[in-house]
């Protein structure tokens, strides 16, 4: 077996679980993380020479534990001032037990990933810091990759992670599952964090890529993992196990179109022009299946909002051709979302597009009123207006709206699209 492929697989599957055990034992995120990363590096060298051990996870845990202890001894004096995470005695004992003889009970290493996720996606952290930290800790996404995915320099991302780790310890966030009465609201925070990572990957405001597929994919992986961990740890209690369903459905349905959103030259392909044969039908089926199982009236406000968005994505996914799209139904869902988000300008803009499809460009243009003030730096408002004006046959007005949109647009692929559209006017 190829060592590096196998290591990569183990990293993906075991990182979060092993890290959680180390955090339970050593009560320090930085120490646990460095020790585990070092252990993986050591594994890359040693396994290549000696072959892959029979129990790779146990090997890694033992190696990481030894490295953490070495490091603690080396920093003995300075470490006294390092704030420790609050970990209850039982969790510490379990971590000790798992580490004492990891080879003996290979399948029994406790799964503390949920605890780790609730720790990292704590509302005391700013959402963007929580999102990066959760991807780093639970999934093992490297700092360099996080920097690239969130469009910041690597030192900036490293500093953001360091500050977040420190805050969790200094502010006294405990490495524990939330109290039952708070479980629902904390699951909602997990969802927010996963969705933030997803949207950061899906609709970058600037930069060369239309979609950073990997980040969106990692967000889906996180949501799936959390959902299954919640279901097994709470016996599928309604509020927790289903709390992430609308989110996962929405992500799957949007993500299923990723291959069709970008053309061969990296240009943006809008929904009507997409080759629907390139949509991932398995993901669509899974998303639609999830949606069928959701009872929207039982969702909390955040869940209901996600459900509305997922229902809109589902309407698009169901249409085999653009002309088969049920625009009146989509306009209806957007109207509900508009009410629910109390006039969010982004939602209003999307609603205007749907209404234009259902009732004509003039009806859509009416809904754009006031949006320029609400979103002064967005290229999307003039972009949509330009398109609707063009469809209404008002080429001069459309051209000037395109100019405005092109001037504001920061995404290379989208700007190319706008320029191409303007060129088509009157042509």
């Amino acid at each position: 077996m190829d060592t590096s492929t196998e290591l990569e697989r183990i990293w993906r599957e075991e990182w979060g679980r092993l890290l959680a055990l180390l955090v339970g034992r050593f009560r320090r995120l930085d120490l646990a993380e460095d020790a585990l990363a070092d252990a993986f590096e050591a594994a890359a060298r040693s396994w290549r020479a000696d072959g892959i051990p029979t129990n790779p996870a146990a090997w890694l845990l033992t190696s990481a534990r030894r490295r953490a202890l070495d490091r603690l001894r080396a920093e003995a004096v300075a470490a006294r001032t390092v704030p420790l995470l609050i970990v209850d005695a039982r969790t510490q004992d379990e971590a000790h037990r798992a580490m004492a003889d990891p080879g003996d009970a290979p399948c029994e290493l406790a799964d503390e990933r949920l605890r780790l996720a609730f720790l990292c996606a704590h509302p005391a952290l700013a959402p963007e810091a929580a999102a990066a930290l959760t991807l780093r800790m639970v999934l093992g996404v490297s700092t360099a990759d996080l920097a690239r995915l969130f469009l910041v320099a690597e030192p900036t991302m490293a500093a953001r992670l360091t500050r977040a780790r420190k805050k969790l310890a200094v502010a006294g966030v405990s490495f524990a599952l939330p109290a039952p009465e708070r479980l629902a609201s904390r699951v909602a925070v997990l969802g927010t964090v996963a969705y933030l990572a997803f949207t950061a990957g899906y609709a970058p405001g600037s930069g060369p890529d239309v979609v950073r597929v990997e980040l969106a994919g990692e967000a889906i992986r996180l949501t799936r993992l959390l959902r299954s961990l919640l279901a097994s740890s709470t016996g599928g209690a309604p509020v927790t196990a289903t709390g992430l369903d609308p989110l996962l459905a929405l992500m799957l349905l949007q993500h299923s179109r990723r291959d069709a959103r970008v053309d061969a030259d990296g240009g943006l392909v809008l929904l009507p022009a997409q080759d629907r044969g390139r949509w991932r039908s398995d993901e669509i089926a899974e998303g639609l299946g999830l949606l069928r199982m959701i009872e929207p009236s039982r969702l909390d406000p955040q869940g209901y909002q996600l459900w509305l968005q997922a229902a809109i994505a589902a309407e698009h996914a169901r249409a085999t051709t653009p002309s088969a799209t049920d625009w009146p139904r989509i306009a209806e869902l957007y109207a509900a979302l508009d009410r629910h988000t109390e006039g969010s300008p982004v939602v209003r803009l999307a609603r205007a597009v749907a209404v234009a499809e259902a009732n004509g460009p003039l009806a859509g243009l009416e809904l754009l009123a006031g949006l320029d003030q609400a979103l002064p730096s967005s290229h999307r408002v003039p972009g949509v207006r330009a398109e609707l004006l063009a469809r209404a046959g008002l080429a001069t007005e459309a051209a000037s709206a395109y100019e405005q949109a092109i001037a504001l647009c920061g995404n290379d692929a989208e700007r190319r699209h706008l320029i191409a559209q303007r060129a088509k006017l009157g042509g």
């Binding site: 005391a124 200094v170 502010a171 006294g172 966030v173 405990s174 939330p178 109290a179 708070r182």
Partner: protein
């Protein structure tokens, strides 16, 4: 751990409230005291910001000005100092306090005051 809960609210919040509303808020503080009990290490209600005096070092002298150090939409109107095992315990207690507050929870560093 020791935490300071800073309580902030709009300056005219209390004076504009109805007697019933004021009663309810008092009752909320009563419930906070009942629930948190001996974990409350201290707590004070502050007189209005018009009674505040701020002193700064300006050009080699201590200079007095009227009013609080920062002009903010919400003023600090009081605080509780509590002892708690973790942050979630404190945010749980905060939910008992009147719902118009903005509460800032700050962990304390232990200061050894000389005798």
């Amino acid at each position: 751990m020791k935490y300071l809960i800073l309580i902030a609210y709009p300056p005219d919040g209390w004076s504009k409230a109805s007697p019933e509303q004021q009663q309810r808020w008092m009752a909320d503080h009563g419930r906070f005291h009942d629930t948190v009990g001996s974990a409350i290490l201290g707590g004070e209600a502050l007189a209005g910001p018009d009674t505040a005096t701020t002193m700064r070092h300006v050009a080699g002298k201590p200079v007095l000005t009227d009013g609080p150090f920062a002009e903010t939409a919400e003023m600090i109107g009081g605080f509780y100092l509590v002892e708690a095992p973790d942050l979630d315990t404190v945010t749980g207690w905060c939910e008992i306090l009147p719902d118009g507050y903005s509460l800032e929870i700050r962990p304390c560093i232990t200061v050894d005051l000389p005798d």
